[in-house]
Symmetry: C2
């Protein structure tokens, strides 16, 4: 069994490649829920949905998020009613959120709902939220009138990550328990993969759930991280706006430094081959390979590289 720590779209693409070369039923993905939000009363789990949609082959690859062939009629009608429209809720996506919201209201856990949604969308991999408890990623930014505290999505989507981030915190994480299956999967893993996701707001919240870092460190299997940064810039998303808040260089070696105590190998891009030495100096095995996933075949090749590095 393989266990992956996963954020949203980047993780989804990588895992879609992985299940081309590895049985999906034997893959457990532990997914960030720090970005989850309530909007229009709907329970939205952006990273869980991104991974689910991508593994189901239904993600919109051009837009980079949400479902292919999406429409926006509900959102437009909500805006017409005077409701906020900044969060991109597509009509088909809303069906997912309606299902999740109803099931949670009925008393189901996020883990249960996630398994149900995967089953209904034909996703064979096991997706686990990092926790069934509420954890909320919040950022403190330099606002016009001094420091301003925002939910991650308010800043990321609502303000398009305009203001520099001073601090990131994971509200509620101290009291959060790993979702059922998370620690067991890590203990039984034949390999642990850290997906090419945002280290600060996708991977760090998972690691912040009490017990997770210890479980990863205690696992005796091979552990590999794949860089989300190529040539000093994130492949997608805005990690470049978040790494500086932690005084981490926006580079492959910068991210490798964050994972130095966690994994034993780090995959970095051909374009960053000159950083291999720095990665090695951190005590990690450096694996230089193409990491940009234009196609699912690219993703499968990257997954193969990562598996070999285990």
């Amino acid at each position: 069994m393989l266990v992956a720590l996963a954020g949203g779209v980047g993780a989804g693409r990588f895992l879609r490649g992985l299940v081309r070369i590895y049985p999906a039923e034997q893959l457990v993905a532990i997914v960030n829920t720090g970005d989850d939000l309530r909007m229009h009363g709907l329970a939205i789990s952006p990273d869980l949905d991104s991974v689910t949609y991508t593994l189901a082959g239904r993600a919109d690859s051009e837009r980079g998020w949400g479902l292919a062939g999406e429409t926006w009629n509900v959102r437009d009608a909500l805006v017409r009613l005077g409701e906020p429209g900044w969060f991109g809720l597509g009509d088909r996506d809303i069906a997912t959120h309606l299902y999740r919201t109803r099931r949670l209201a009925e008393g189901a856990t996020l883990s249960q709902v996630t398994a149900e949604l995967c089953g209904r969308m034909g996703v064979a991999a096991h997706l686990l939220p990092m926790s069934d408890d509420r954890v909320e990623t919040r950022v403190e930014v330099d606002g016009r009138d001094g420091p301003t505290d925002l939910s991650f999505q308010e800043w990321w989507v609502g303000r398009q990550a305009r203001e520099p981030v001073r601090e990131v915190r994971f509200e509620g994480v101290g009291g959060a328990r790993p979702a059922p299956g998370v620690l067991d999967a890590l203990a039984a893993a034949d390999g642990i993969l850290v997906c090419p996701s945002n280290p600060v707001v996708s991977i760090a919240p998972i690691l912040a759930v009490p017990g997770v870092v210890e479980a990863v460190q205690a696992a005796t299997c091979g552990k590999v991280a794949v860089t989300p940064i190529v040539a000093g810039a994130p492949v997608r998303g805005m990690a470049d706006k978040l790494l500086p808040a932690w005084e981490v260089e926006v580079s492959a070696r910068g991210v490798a430094g964050l994972y130095a105590d966690l994994v034993d190998a780090f995959v970095l891009d051909l374009l960053d081959a000159d950083q291999a030495e720095d990665v090695t100096a951190l005590g990690l095995r450096a694996v230089v390979a193409p990491t940009i996933m234009h196609t699912v075949e690219d993703a499968a090749a990257l997954a193969k590289t990562a598996l070999s590095a285990l």
Copy 2:
């Protein structure tokens, strides 16, 4: 001030005509909520929405329910997820339900939410739910395996009113209180109108809320009902399937009989002029006029007839 007792589409059309000849701000419509339902976790109030959409000029007049220019992408995606799709939820309609559901979850009453939705849709008339308390219209039908108890919508929409109805009941109505403003409006009314709505499942639930019948009867203003039945058949809907459950003839005079203790005048169609005598025999003033509303001008003319009859 005029007060109307209203069901859904038929009432909406009539009231849309009424506000052409009477100031909307001085109209209070008390609307049936017995058909309200939860579906996919959404709080749906079909009659309130029909009247609101019609008064806002946004109803789909061809289909006869819902919003004009509607699409069905959320519903299709829900069906793809394995959820039931029998209740016609359009994408724009869902925006209304999302708003209502969120506000109710925040603790707002249905009255408050209704006023907010009217305001946001530019409806100047005052729509009041008959009650902020839950009342559920249920029907007992002759099923294949004996009597079957169904919610009104399950039978009406889900089974397309196939099975004959043996009994109609308004669950919870005994403990329901009239919504704020209902009794005051009836007491202060300069005229009370019973809209051309289904007598059994639209008007009767309103009258079943404790205190409403008494308030209508105590009002000293003129009171007029408009027939929903023309030439022995409902103008729209399926009143013909429900009146027999109460052993009422499917005719203008049959409906007039139901309202004999409530109003002092009854508007029946030209096509039913031969029933005027029977209506008079019930102690009601019979007003014979065109009642079919093809256009808003027809509706305004019918409203004028009803106002004159006050």
